[in-house]
Symmetry: C2
Subunit: 150 residues, 2 copies
DNA sequence: TCCGACATGAGACTAAGTATCAGTTAGAAT
DNA sequence: ATTCTAACTGATACTTAGTCTCATGTCGGA
């Protein structure tokens, strides 16, 4: 079963209709590069209204079909969702995004729980760096403002 | 030396002027609760123009006087910066923010570096949960959409 | 084939942030 | 103290991202 069929099935199971506009958005997503903005989808899904694209993206997020990637500047990108819990490794230079599932925060969560009395429910981790191809083609990037990075 | 004086000194050292508007913004920041939005500052720093508040906040970020807290919905909050590398623990219910410095990602960074050929330069980690007082006063929160949390 | 709930597009609206520009001012030089 | 100018300012127009509303369209069950 193709990705498209899987997603359509998931829509149906949740009682959502599979309409022309939704298909066009899905086609746009699946044809898009690994990560994209809502605006990219808007341009690719020709004829589909602005509001509908936003609505559909939100729906697909709820269905875990796509997930959000937070860029360092606060802008939102999306990508077809990997299964389950994962994080993103974002290239600061070209914007490429990799998934990774290594995520050992259990010790951290335990320590925070006991020291702060918070009930920890989730976390968001994005790692930023420069991918190999950017490092070889642009050895010296123009330095941006220093992030919260370690 | 007070916080205010320290910040003013830092401004001067970098060749920035200490103007009335900047003072008013700083007063607003220092009087604000531990975390706040640009809009909060706008309202407190009466008479200071919109653009100036945004400009000043950006400047203060560059000077590491304030730091950004990314809320789960993508909105930006700020807080007076703690020294050095740290992360935030955000209460989903009341929005309260705690700093923490425990941050052992070196193993993760090493693993990612070797498996992806990225040069890791930084990361962003925000932890979300519910603080003790929210848990006791509102035992059952209305459930929001499920986050990327583990 | 009728029907109602779901979905849609257009466009008005909001919020957050940026750009422009003429006027003001801090603070160094005189 | 006065002058000078780059830095700064507020007003306002603009941009961008996203939401709301509402009249219209359509899917698919009865």
């Amino acid at each position: 079963m193709s990705d498209l069929e899987l997603i359509i099935q998931r829509l149906g199971l949740r009682g959502h209709r599979v309409t022309g506009s939704r298909r066009r958005v899905l086609d746009a997503l699946l044809a898009a590069p690994a990560h994209f903005t809502v605006d990219d989808v808007l341009q690719r899904a020709d004829g589909v209204g602005r509001a509908t694209v936003f609505r559909t993206m939100k729906l697909l997020q709820d269905l875990n079909v796509v997930c959000r990637v937070m860029m360092e500047d606060g802008s939102r990108h999306y990508r077809i969702s990997a299964r389950g819990h994962h994080h993103h490794l974002v290239c600061r230079s070209c914007g490429r995004v990799e998934d990774f599932a290594i995520c050992d925060v259990s010790a951290l969560v335990q320590e925070l729980s006991s020291s702060t009395e918070y009930e920890i429910e989730g976390h968001w981790l994005e790692v930023y760096g420069r991918c190999q191809s950017c490092r070889t083609t642009q050895p010296l990037a123009t330095a941006g403002s220093e992030s919260n990075g370690s």
